[in-house]
């Protein structure tokens, strides 16, 4: 009898978990893919042929690819220097501003884009100000097409690079940089030969996240794209036009593109272990001592943050404007709180807020639980089964939200228990489930990285003191990985709270979330009310951020 692959309780549990995750994450995608091939009745490549014959589809696919690649580059160009600036330089107000700079992540979808319209659109503040300064009669630019999409993408996604860079810099061993200087390397050389290579895993992670997010991005191309179509808007157009077959093929092609990109990024970053040596201390921040430099940095930091928060302020302003009163004036002539009183006085209007809150909470707790369980299980059994669990947890990351939602909707729209398909569409459970699965990578990755950093002897120490596996998990592991989990949970919560792409496919009357209500208000020409919802959403997201900060500090 061989001891390899022996059936043990942890292995059984891991296998069960993998099966469950495979059913929830992999199976729906498989079903969507097979339906694009005719669902086996009979198998056909006709739909793909139709796709291949249309030039505009290839153009859209190509645009999705280059827009995402360009978003990665631009976000990195903004986010990485910002990360360096806030992590490596000490100046008055650094802590506060460093937090504010991350706030674009809390700008809700849809209304965030609307805020951009009010700022940089043809009749926006900034455009009008620039036109006034330059003495132009017309608007200085048009907020449309690829440029506008890239602007919005860069604005909302540089945060990934910013946060990842800061975290990685804080973890860096400072003496490594000193060693390079000691060996005669110039600051530029240290940056390119030592610092950046050491940040590579973090940067690769941020690049992947940015790429996938912009590949899945819908609001910006939808509102600014016009006839500049990318894959996500193409899917919606096909669906709206009733061409389900084409929508399916487009979905599969987009998912294929995402997986291809994932594979490509893996090739670029084999992910070898860079933490092989003894750990040192993080490099100290550069103290700016000359008053000019110090206050210069502070002024730069403040104005930068102010600039980055402009869309947030705009949203607040718009939420205070009564419908139809703001026309050609530079600033709204009348302000009132009516949108908020409408919102709070009608139970029907408050419901979406509650819906989003409970669904995001349930989904986040579920994702935390599943993510932690999967991470723990994977790290215990290791080997192929462990790796399978890890990729299952990460898979939803690589799948654009629209694709995932459509896949869930397809799979759970019929009741066929023998095929593992249950009727969930139209029930209140489908949306929280979708949020949960979409956010699994966030909590799962957090759990993986948290558990990996733990000293294995802690667990052994606990066992040697007579604690069983559950007690060890509850009393030792969970508290130790809490900061990492809190970070993942905060992001997951914010994402679920503001989710639009998944919700639009799966919401029901009883689970109508905020983003859908914003869409409805916009449809009803009630921009003010939409902005008021946006402001509430922003406030909730920001509170989640603050709570997370507290969690991190306590440990």
């Amino acid at each position: 009898m061989s001891f390899r692959g022996r059936v043990t309780r942890p292995r059984l549990a891991a296998a069960g978990l993998a099966l469950g995750l495979g059913w929830l994450v992999g199976y729906p995608l498989l079903i969507t893919a097979t339906e694009a091939f005719g669902g086996g009745a009979p198998w056909t490549l006709d739909h793909f042929k139709a796709f291949a014959e249309r030039g505009d589809e290839w153009t859209a696919l190509g645009r999705s690819l280059w827009i995402s690649a360009a978003s990665v580059v631009l976000s990195a160009l903004v986010g990485v220097p910002l990360g360096f600036f806030f992590e490596r330089t000490e100046f008055p107000g650094r802590r506060l501003l460093g937090g504010l700079v991350a706030l674009p992540v809390a700008l809700p979808p849809l209304v965030g884009v609307i805020a951009f319209l009010f700022l940089y659109g043809e009749s926006g503040f900034i455009s009008r100000a620039v036109a006034a300064v330059l003495g132009l009669t017309g608007p200085p630019w048009r907020l449309a097409g690829a440029g506008a999409i890239l602007l919005v993408h860069t604005y909302s996604m540089y945060v990934y690079f910013y946060l990842f860079t800061r975290a990685a810099l804080a973890r860096l061993d400072g003496s490594v940089l000193e060693a390079a200087a000691n060996l005669g390397a110039s600051p530029m050389r240290i940056l390119f030969r030592v610092t950046l290579p050491l940040l590579r895993p973090a940067l690769a992670g941020a690049a992947l996240l940015t790429f996938m997010t912009s590949l899945a991005s819908f609001s910006a191309p939808y509102i600014f794209g016009g006839n500049f179509r990318v894959m996500t808007t193409q899917i919606v157009a096909s669906k709206l036009n009733g061409d389900l077959e084409m929508a399916r093929v487009e979905t599969v092609m987009l998912a294929g593109l995402a997986l291809l990109a994932l594979w490509g990024l893996r090739l670029l970053d084999p992910g070898d272990d860079l933490a092989a040596t003894v750990r040192g201390v993080a490099p100290s921040r550069r103290q700016l001592t000359r008053p000019l430099a110090k206050w210069g940095a502070a002024v730069a930091g403040w104005s930068l943050s102010l600039f980055l928060l402009l869309p947030h302020f705009t949203l607040v302003l718009v939420s205070l404007v009564p419908a139809g009163t703001w026309t050609t004036e530079a600033l709204p002539p009348v302000l009132f709180g009516g949108n908020y009183s409408t919102l709070f006085s009608r139970p029907e209007s408050l419901k979406p807020l509650l819906n989003s809150a409970w669904m995001a909470t349930v989904a986040t707790l579920g994702a935390l639980f599943l993510g932690f369980l999967a991470a723990r299980s994977s790290l215990r059994v290791k080997g192929r089964l462990g790796r399978l669990l890890e990729s299952l947890v990460s898979l939803p990351w690589a799948i654009p939200g629209t694709v995932f939602a459509v896949a869930l909707a397809t799979t759970f729209s019929i009741h066929k228990p023998q095929a593992g398909r249950f009727l969930l569409i139209g029930t209140p459970w489908i949306l929280p489930l979708a949020y949960l699965l979409r956010n699994l990578p966030l909590t799962g990755r957090a759990a993986f990285s948290g558990l990996r950093q733990l000293d294995p002897s802690l667990e052994e120490a606990s066992a040697s003191l007579g604690a069983g596996p559950w007690r060890t998990m509850w009393k030792i592991l969970l508290p130790m990985v809490r900061p990492a989990l809190a970070a993942g949970a905060a992001l997951a919560f914010i994402t679920a709270l503001g989710d639009f792409v998944t919700s639009i496919v799966l919401y029901t009357l009883d689970t109508r979330p905020i983003s859908i209500e914003i869409l409805a208000s916009l449809r009803l020409q009630d921009t003010g009310l939409a902005a008021a919802y946006g402001v509430l959403l922003m406030t909730l997201s920001a509170s989640a951020f603050v709570l997370w900060g507290r969690q991190g500090e306590r440990v």
Partner: protein, 369 residues
């Protein structure tokens, strides 16, 4: 001909906020010499090293190497090699690439780099490790890679920051020997920071003791041990017993002390001077005390409270019965052969003739022994 002040540090001063970490340090190191900076944590030794390396800038003072003032030069232009406490090897590079790093920054030719890397790795006994990744080699090997990397660009000065503290004791002993050999073979001027006396004594030609940001004493190990010039050096370097008494007579730098509660008169070095009749404290090394076979004048009777067996020599902790002239029992440490006494036994002890002379310090006002 060797320059006796190849490295000259003058008036080096550094504050971090309200913390005065280095107070007007002055030091000279000869070319090819190994100087160990010894001190407890917080003594300022690491700051001194970082000032030398150029990672911090001094508030005042100068650092001259071969006559050139370097204290304002950025680290990258000083041409010093450094081995870090945690090695600070570049985890994304191989062993060979790590060693080559400093050569590439100095624009060496590819062929020369290869040659030099091979030579350096051979020097530290890692000849075939060039292509290895850091995760594949042991801690001791990493330490040697760090040394090879620091030495490869032919630095003017080698700085070692607690180079052995991450190794286990057996490995430490061996690595220390290899380190000393490698440095000697190259003949490079070296500054070593350590908090371990044994390491400082073994590696350093001279040892500089730092305490509270002040340079206490610089000298060869035997000078420090036999002629400590401050109370701190006497207590930090090596073991000693402290007893009180008063000065009977003074003869130049020597003094004779009547030890309180006994009839002993011990002769020792007067470190800070003194006049007959002064109350003093006397520090005596354990090997300077010997067991006496029977009671006699100058023999102190005491009980063995602990025996610490150490192979070649054993350390005995003795305690005298209480007496009125001293506030507490006198505690003595005696180094002798392993079978000289048993725990619990009452023995006689006297000052021997072969060990270092005791040192005599004035009693600090308000201090009790």
């Amino acid at each position: 001909m060797k320059d006796s002040s190849f490295l000259a540090i003058e008036n080096l001063d550094k504050r971090f906020g309200s913390l005065h970490v280095l107070k007007k340090i002055a030091l000279e190191v000869a070319e090819g010499e190994i100087l160990a900076l010894l001190g407890p944590s917080g003594s300022g030794k690491t700051t001194a090293l970082r000032l030398l390396a150029g990672f911090e800038t001094p508030d005042s003072g100068s650092i001259r190497v071969g006559g050139e003032e370097v204290s304002r030069l950025p680290a990258a232009r000083r041409g010093f090699g450094m081995v870090f406490q945690h090695y600070a090897l570049f985890p994304h590079l191989t062993v060979g690439q790590n060693v080559a790093f400093g050569l590439e920054t100095r624009n060496w030719k590819e062929a020369e780099i290869q040659q030099r890397v091979a030579a350096m790795l051979a020097l530290v006994d890692l000849a075939d490790f060039e292509g290895r990744r850091l995760g594949e080699i042991s801690g001791g090997q990493q330490q040697r890679v760090a040394l090879a990397r620091a030495l490869a660009p032919e630095p003017r000065l080698l700085l070692l920051d607690e180079p052995l503290s991450n190794l286990d004791p057996t490995l430490r002993e061996r690595t220390r020997r290899q380190l000393r050999q490698a440095i000697e073979r190259i003949g490079i001027t070296t500054i070593l920071v350590t908090h371990e006396q044994e390491e400082a004594f073994h590696l350093g030609d001279r040892v500089a003791v730092l305490h509270g940001g002040e340079l206490q004493q610089v000298g060869r190990p035997e000078e420090l041990y036999e002629h400590p010039r401050t109370r701190f050096v006497a207590s930090f370097v090596g073991r000693s017993s402290v007893v009180s008494g008063h000065l009977e007579s003074v003869d130049g730098s020597l003094g004779r002390v009547a030890i309180a509660g006994t009839d002993c008169i011990w002769e020792g070095h007067l470190v800070e001077g003194g006049r007959p009749g002064d109350e003093v404290e006397v520090r005596v090394r354990p090997e300077s005390l010997v067991f006496a076979a029977e009671p006699a004048p100058g023999v102190i009777s005491a009980e063995v409270v602990e025996r610490r067996y150490g192979g070649a020599m054993t350390l005995y902790f003795l305690q005298t019965p209480k007496c009125e002239e001293t506030p507490g029992p006198m505690k003595l440490e005696v180094m002798a052969r392993g079978n000289a006494a048993r725990a619990g036994e009452v023995v006689g002890v006297r000052l021997g003739e072969t060990g270092p002379l005791p040192t005599i310090f004035p009693i600090e006002p308000g201090a009790t022994i």
